[in-house]
């Protein structure tokens, strides 16, 4: 069974392929492979992903660190030679090109555990609670997307996750849930 999803951001095809093999062997999905960091519009939609990033791109990571962290992404730097230690702080972990498989596995494991945790404890994330409150207030997907500055597609994904965590499908049911959990006042 697949655990979580990842994006590989590195310009070397050899490293891309190597990372792909490691991720697949750990059952982590790969949603994209790219040479450099994409536009803000794309990366702000990344949620709960494992990002494997060329440590040379630390400055770009630094510029987007707020949104990447807010959306629960785990960022691992890939270093091919000793890099500037000052930039390390933007990464949750650093994988060195010379690391052996067992060491890499340990470094990736934190992410796997965290993703499995969110799945099993079924607690809504802060973002999901925010969205649920808006659904309960009767806002449409389009209105929610506009207010949160996210795409309708992301709203739908959040709603699917909320439904699967709570086991409640209808808008009326979600409203009732939100009221009982004091997120909104029923009029």
């Amino acid at each position: 069974m697949q655990v979580g999803n990842s994006v590989i951001i590195h310009k070397s095809p050899i490293i891309q392929q190597g990372l792909k093999n490691i991720l697949l062997s750990r059952n982590i999905g790969i949603s994209d492979v790219m040479a450099s960091l994409p536009e803000y519009d794309i990366l702000r939609e990344w949620n709960d992903l494992l990002l494997l990033v060329d440590i040379q791109l630390a400055n770009e990571i630094k510029n987007n660190i707020k949104v990447l962290k807010k959306n629960g992404n785990t960022i691992i730097g890939i270093e091919t030679h000793d890099a500037d230690k000052d930039l390390d702080k933007y990464f949750d972990e650093i994988i060195n090109i010379n690391d052996q498989t067992d060491i890499i596995a340990i470094k990736i494991n934190d992410y796997i555990v965290r993703v499995a945790d969110t799945k099993s404890n079924n607690q809504l994330s802060a973002r999901e609670i925010e969205l649920l409150t808006m659904v309960a207030q009767g806002l449409s997907n389009k209105q929610i997307a506009d207010q949160l500055f996210i795409s309708i597609h992301t709203v739908i994904t959040h709603r699917k996750n909320i439904t699967s965590k709570l086991g409640i499908k209808s808008i009326s049911g979600l409203t009732l849930y939100a009221a009982l959990n004091k997120m909104v006042v029923l009029h």
Binding site: L166, G167, I168, K169, S170, S172, G173, L174, L176, Y177, A179, L180, L186
Partner: protein, 221 residues
């Protein structure tokens, strides 16, 4: 799979939830040792139609084919089912809520559930009226041709909501049972909701799998 040679009493014995359905089909009296074919003959009912109904309600894996059924008896049965929910299921659910309220007058959960249930019932009755006024008459070609394709699509959409809301209510009640609740009443309420949910699913299955395809064919949309 239920066949015409099965004794009707055995069929009911295996699944007593079929009794109200058999009653709605007009077959609940004078059963004795008779098999389904014999009971149908006694009551002048089409045995194939009765078998499709009984099998749909007894097995989730049974999917009736549109060609198996005449529309007229199906519409009669669906209308009877609507009447049953209006006259029996809805008052029963309301009754449980009122009893629970006497039991726990200040329980906020009950007030919220009552409000939810009332909204649901209002929607359900609207849905029933829509079917009986805008859909069922299509069978007798009593409606203008232009309106119907829109109406039929609307019917599909409404079903999913109607079923999900009952299932959600059940889920929410189970999670929030108050400490001092009368557990027998809660159990009866949940039992009625489960039964109602199952009936709604089967009812929608008739409409989505038989009624709508047949209507579309009939009207050659």
């Amino acid at each position: 799979m239920i066949t015409e040679n099965d004794k009707l009493s055995d069929v009911i014995g295996r699944n007593i939830d079929l009794l109200p359905i058999i009653h709605r089909l007009g077959l609940s009296t004078n059963i004795g040792e008779r098999n389904i074919r014999e009971v149908c003959n006694d009551h002048v009912k089409d045995v194939n139609f009765i078998l499709v109904i009984l099998n749909t309600y007894s097995s989730d894996n049974y999917f009736p084919k549109p060609d198996d059924l005449d529309l007229k008896p199906l519409i009669d049965f669906l209308t009877q089912t609507h009447t049953y929910h209006k006259q029996v299921t809805i008052p029963r659910l309301n009754g449980f809520i009122q009893q629970l309220k006497q039991n726990m007058p200040n329980e906020k959960l009950l007030l919220v559930i009552e409000k939810y249930l009332n909204q649901y019932i209002k929607k359900l009755i609207q849905h029933i009226d829509f079917e009986e006024k805008d859909i069922f008459p299509l069978v007798n070609r009593k409606l203008m041709v232009d309106e119907k394709s829109v109406n039929i699509k609307k019917l599909f959409r409404q079903h999913t909501n109607v079923e999900n809301e009952i299932s959600d209510l059940k889920t929410i009640i189970i999670r929030h049972i108050p400490q001092n609740a009368n557990m027998d009443l809660i159990h009866d309420l949940l039992h009625t909701l489960s039964h109602f949910e199952k009936e709604q699913l089967d009812h929608a299955r008739f409409e989505d799998k038989i009624l709508i395809p047949k209507l579309l064919k009939l009207l050659s949309i």
